[in-house]
């Protein structure tokens, strides 16, 4: 009964009868015999009869090989026929013959300069539309935020607290560690250069200004962009995939209220705090390294810090935080809302969100630098 046992493997025997070849198939043949069978069938020339009277069992792959061999010979004008099939073997042969697919000519992908230009145009237009939809969602966020101020009962405090914990509290260890290490590196590198001029003590100014003005908040924003923008996209995107967002709309729940305001607002509240923590951790790392490397005592570091560094520097750094937060949050939520119905689009939008958020943060930082330079802060 069982045709797959190795013991009674089938085979192909070729016998010449004058000019004609008689191809005898015997036993049970299956997918495993296909390569060998194909190779031998391909060598057959001239008129041939495939005799299946000895075949006990074949599968669709073998039937396909026989039929294509016959068609190949027939196309060359040689006589080729399949004979002797009975019972199950004939049924499979007939099923496969009926199902042999007809290749349909597919229009190849269009080529040429025109297509390239079209693609470039589509990219430019797509980029502009992406910017517009970013502005649209930003507007939605601001509108819903003010709506919540007017009707505080609609505000979702629980969701806000939950997101504050996820984007703020849980990011503290990584942000603090990263900033501490940056402080260490700055002190180490700075002292090596400044020692050449005998100006080691200025390493305090170097650390303080670079961390407070730029590095503390910028690196925090980049870490948060990687961690939180992707989380927003994945969470909102998977809700979009399972039609939860459509369900919200039909139930009269506004996704802006329920999903976007708590997330973006949590970032706006938490990013300045994370930035402040990053500043403290960076200064601590710098002070530690200055002490070890240059012998600047913590007390001296503090004195030098309070004398030489204006509070403006810290303000310039922290004032950027809410702007970065809005950029990261809105970009993450927007990407989530653009997820389609497939798992693949979720992955694509998540990585697009992280790239866009980091780019936006760095671009905004550059614009801030020019702005502060111009107003002379």
């Amino acid at each position: 009964m069982d045709g797959n046992d190795a013991g009674e493997a089938g085979g192909l025997r070729l016998a010449a009868e004058g000019a004609e070849t008689r191809a005898l198939l015997t036993g049970a043949l299956g997918l495993a015999d296909l390569p060998d069978l194909q190779a031998r069938l391909a060598r057959i020339e001239g008129p041939v009869t495939f005799d299946l009277s000895g075949a006990r069992r074949i599968d669709t792959a073998v039937a396909w090989a026989l039929l294509t061999a016959r068609d190949r010979l027939a196309a060359g004008g040689t006589r080729a026929e399949i004979a002797g099939a009975t019972g199950d073997v004939a049924a499979i042969l007939e099923t496969v013959r009926a199902a042999l697919p007809e290749p349909e000519p597919q229009p190849g992908p269009p080529r040429g300069l025109r297509v390239q230009i079209e693609r470039l145009g589509a990219h430019v237009a797509g980029g502009w539309e992406g910017f517009l939809s970013f502005l649209g969602l930003l507007g939605l966020f601001v509108a819903r935020l003010f709506g919540a101020l007017l009707r505080p009962r609609e505000f979702r405090l629980t969701a806000l607290a939950h997101h504050c914990q996820a984007v703020g509290l849980q990011a503290v260890p990584i942000v603090a560690l990263m900033s501490f290490l940056i402080g260490v590196v700055l002190a180490f590198q700075g002292s090596a250069q400044l020692r050449q001029f005998g100006a080691e003590v200025f390493v305090v100014d170097l650390i303080a200004i670079s961390i407070l003005r730029e590095l503390g908040i910028l690196l925090t924003a980049i870490i948060v962009a990687g961690r939180t923008a992707s989380a927003f996209t994945a969470a909102i995107g998977s809700m979009k995939m399972r039609e939860e967002i459509d369900a919200m709309r039909t139930l009269g729940i506004d996704p802006g209220h329920a999903l976007i305001v708590p997330r973006v607002l949590a970032l706006v509240l938490m990013l300045p705090i994370l930035g402040l923590l990053a500043n403290v951790a960076g200064l601590f790392g710098g002070a530690l390294m200055s002490w070890i490397e240059l012998g600047i005592s913590p007390a001296m570091f503090m004195t030098r810090l309070s004398e030489g560094t204006d509070l403006n520097h810290a303000a310039v750094g922290l004032v950027k935080a809410p702007v970065f937060a809005v950029l990261i949050g809105v970009i993450g939520c927007r990407a989530g809302l653009q997820v389609g119905s497939t798992a693949e689009s979720l992955g694509r939008m998540t990585s697009a969100a992280v790239v866009a958020a980091i780019f936006a943060v760095i671009l905004a930082d550059a614009l801030f630098s020019i702005f502060f330079q111009q107003i002379g802060v």
């Binding site: 997918l31 390569p35 499979i92 007939e94 099923t95 199902a99 042999l100 697919p101 349909e104 693949e344």
Partner: protein, 262 residues
Amino acid sequence: MAETVIEVRGLRTQFGPHVVHDGLDLDVRRGEILGVVGGSGTGKSVLLRAITGLVTPAAGRVRMLGTDMQDAREAELDALAARIGVMFQDGALFSSLTVRENVETPLTTLSHLDAETRESLARLKISLAGLPWSAGDKYPSELSGGMRKRAGLARALALDPEIVFLDEPTAGLDPIGAADFDELIRGLSTALGLTVFLVTHDLDTLYATCDRIAVLAEKRVLVTGTLDDMLEVDHPWVRAYFQGPRARAARGEEIATPPADA
């Protein structure tokens, strides 16, 4: 009587404290189409998964095509995997591959086939499942639900299995698509000598395709037999299922009192 290809004895499956099957026995014979029915939550799909080895039973024995699933070594299980095919409810196609590449996937595990043969065989299976040539170059997300199911069937058939497991093949299809699919299953089973293990809710599918029916209830197979046998069974669920208005409609009997405004 034909040889038994799947033999389940005393199967017990549970997830934590929740027992799905307890002391379940079932035989599937070669060449038949067995329909497995049961209410929602009676563990029809879990039974399919337990037999195919996707769920490890807490107790009991599953013997498929002469291999004891519990004691089998990895190599034996691999060999067995080539002799069965599974079609999941929504096709479970790999979304990053085209339909043709999906059907080719099982074939690539047989390294001795060259790429051209693999492609041709995949095209043949796609055509056997009733899909047009152009569907082979599409991604699963570009297909309708019915086409995805057919593509899932094509992939299940890729290695010319002896047993095919189908999980709710007609769920979510329109009546015409479902009837076509029933016919396809019946036709392929006859032509290729397939044994089919079919989990379904669809009474029309039962009437159109199945040789035998197994009813799951009370954590075991309550009864097996032909459709006519089912009408004799005295169990509230079986009676409600096979003698309800939908069952009578599927059987082609006239419903006793048709609603006036129907």
